[in-house]
């Protein structure tokens, strides 16, 4: 982990009418870091993440992503980030190969790059014999690993993962996290939201959002010390209890 900031957010705010979904959040994320972005449902973490990906326009504040200004260079930022959405984001009626080719294509990879990536990826995920299978018929865990690999296809500087492991078994989650570690070791910054507190422990640093604000920020050990808690679950509960806003 280096000292180079890849995401820098200052007083970023998003209002929907009179409702402030994200309320002046400030934090930095460093290169190669696994940054956990926690919060109860409705705390505003998805909105915050969508702003950073260019899916939602911030109301006020400042932010740079991958060294570029979010307000001015959102289109360039898109080339440097990867995104895996909360909903499963591959096409079920396309074969594994076709999905890889499509996403490679829209990220502007050349045919040769796509071919190389495809071989590597199929090998890494042990999906060689499933290359022509429709994604629909893969087990959920494989779909999610594939989805992550597709988000990493164009070698982004930062990859945003929105609750990537929802609904999969612990073993697959473990395997999924191995992929995340690999990506981080390769220098990719991983920005991940999660509901699982054991996953929070795997992160280098964690921020916890409550009612649209970032109420805690630090490494899991620091936070446990700060809140006199045994694990991240207790830290989270202490903060989440203060929430006024109800979950959606």
């Amino acid at each position: 982990m280096s000292e180079e900031k890849v995401i820098s957010v200052k007083d970023l705010t998003k209002q929907f009418g009179s409702f402030t979904a994200v309320d002046h959040i400030t934090f930095d994320v460093y290169k190669g870091e696994i940054f956990g972005f926690l919060g109860a449902n409705g705390a505003g973490k998805t909105t915050a993440m969508r702003m950073l990906c260019g899916l939602s326009f911030p109301t006020s504040g400042r932010a740079t992503v991958a060294g570029l200004d979010l307000f001015k260079e959102a289109e360039v930022i898109k080339r440097r980030i990867g995104y895996m959405s909360q909903k499963f984001s591959l096409y079920e009626d396309l074969a594994v190969k076709e999905n890889i080719r499509f996403y490679g294509g829209i990220y502007g990879l050349t045919d040769r790059q796509i071919k190389t990536k495809m071989e590597y990826l199929l090998h890494q995920l042990k999906l060689e014999d499933k290359a022509n299978t429709l994604v629909r018929s893969l087990p959920l865990g494989w779909k999610q690993k594939l989805s992550f690999s597709v988000a990493m296809l164009h070698e982004p500087q930062i990859v945003f993962l929105d609750e990537p492991t929802g609904g999969v078994d612990p073993i697959t989650r473990r395997e999924f996290w191995n992929l995340i570690y690999q990506a981080a070791a390769g220098g990719t910054t991983v920005f991940v939201t999660t509901h699982y507190m054991d996953e929070a422990e795997y992160c280098n640093r964690v921020s916890i959002m409550v009612d649209g604000r970032v109420d805690a920020l630090g490494s899991p050990d620091e936070l446990k010390r700060q809140f006199h808690a045994e694990d991240m679950g207790q830290v989270f509960l202490q903060l989440a209890r203060k929430a006024v806003r109800s979950a959606d």
Partner: protein, 368 residues
């Protein structure tokens, strides 16, 4: 540009792999043309009628013979008295009855005047009208023959000629209408559904995070449906010429160009719907209620616009299908050239430009 091709290829995969879509795209036009061409026609053919012949003389027999010979009527013979008519009507066995009085010929020859009663089932007023009209015409014909060479001064003979459609075939009317309907379904509904599906599945988010330019996404979504529409236009025209015997009187290039213009109009409408709808069901419902119904009701294809109350006539002007229907009818059936339809074409172009602009503006770069 390559991104674009990857995108279009992906759209085609979706199409090929969804049997329902394929059916709507190719089965529907075929079915509609055939159903409208053969089954749903407002022509009257072989309608069952009853004849109550109280006279049984030469004159009545001669008229009955004419009626039987006509292809409009199929004469049922089992009526013997007035009392038989009512149940026959009630059960729907017959649509019309012709009643000859006693001594029909006597009265005709000696009193120079003889009544024939035509009783129609007016639950469907149009059919009843048509039937009695046909029957009167046949009877009148007989009367003319009877007069023979006998000169009556001051007779006016009306001679009718049906322009553009001498056989009065319903398919002349339906082909342009079906074309409008099919393009509506294929382009507007299918395009909107295919965009909304990506919103629903969450893949739209991923696409919008990618560097592909949103307008290219929109165009890539339209291209496959545009191509398929050309196939549909071709098949409808071929079917109408070779199966329904509806000739193309006008310039084929002009006709096809107008069809392609309308295709773009409805594609833009589909896009507009997709920006308003959040689920595939909503998109389908809006397409059906907002586009399909007005197309059927207000384009003039089912009901003549001229006979509608003024407010509806005004509303019909914003239905693109009305203008398209007018253009196709004039070019295809009447054989008119561009000079006669340029105004309507301009209206369609204007509508297309308007829908395109609004929908592309509304198509959200950022999903709020």
């Amino acid at each position: 540009m390559k991104q674009f091709i990857y995108f279009i290829r992906k759209e085609f995969y979706h199409l090929w792999r969804d049997p329902r879509t394929m059916f709507i795209l190719f089965g529907m036009p075929l079915m509609q043309i055939l159903i409208f061409g053969f089954a749903l026609t407002n022509e009257v053919k072989n309608t069952r009628i009853a004849i109550l012949d109280n006279a049984k003389d030469d004159a009545s027999r001669a008229i009955i013979h004419e009626l039987e010979a006509s292809r409009y009527f199929d004469v049922q013979e089992d009526v013997r008295s007035n009392a038989d008519l009512e149940p026959a009507f009630r059960t729907g066995k017959i649509k019309m009855a012709v009643v000859f009085p006693d001594r029909f010929q006597d009265e005709l020859l000696h009193a120079n005047k003889a009544p024939i009663q035509l009783i129609g089932d007016a639950t469907d007023p149009n059919v009843a009208n048509t039937l009695t009209y046909y029957a009167s015409a046949i009877i009148l014909d007989y009367q003319e023959n009877l007069k023979g060479r006998e000169q009556i001064p001051y007779t006016i003979n009306t001679e009718m000629r049906m322009l553009y459609n001498p056989q009065m075939k319903g398919s002349y009317n339906f082909v342009p209408g079906v074309m409008a309907m099919v393009l509506m379904l294929v382009c507007a509904m299918m395009t909107s559904i295919s965009i909304v599906r990506e919103k629903e599945l969450g893949t739209m988010e991923v696409i919008l995070v990618s560097p592909i330019i949103p307008i290219r996404v929109v165009i890539a979504k339209m291209v496959p449906y545009f191509l398929l529409s050309t196939v549909n236009i071709a098949s409808i025209l071929l079917l109408s010429v070779f199966v329904l015997d509806v000739p193309i009187q006008g310039n084929l290039v002009l006709l096809v160009a107008e069809c392609l213009l309308f295709t773009v109009t409805v594609l833009a409408l589909g896009l507009l719907i997709s920006s308003a709808a959040d689920s595939q069901q909503t998109a389908m419902l809006i397409s059906l209620m907002g586009l399909f119904l007005p197309t059927v009701m207000l384009s003039g294809f089912m009901f003549p616009v001229e006979n509608m109350p003024i407010p509806l006539q005004v509303i019909s002007n914003i239905v693109p299908a009305k203008w398209f229907y007018y253009i196709v009818k004039n070019v295809m059936i009447k054989g008119l050239g561009f000079t006669y339809v340029w105004k309507e074409t301009l209206i369609l172009v204007g509508m297309t430009a308007f829908f395109m602009t609004v929908s592309i503006k509304k198509f959200k770069t950022r999903l709020e």
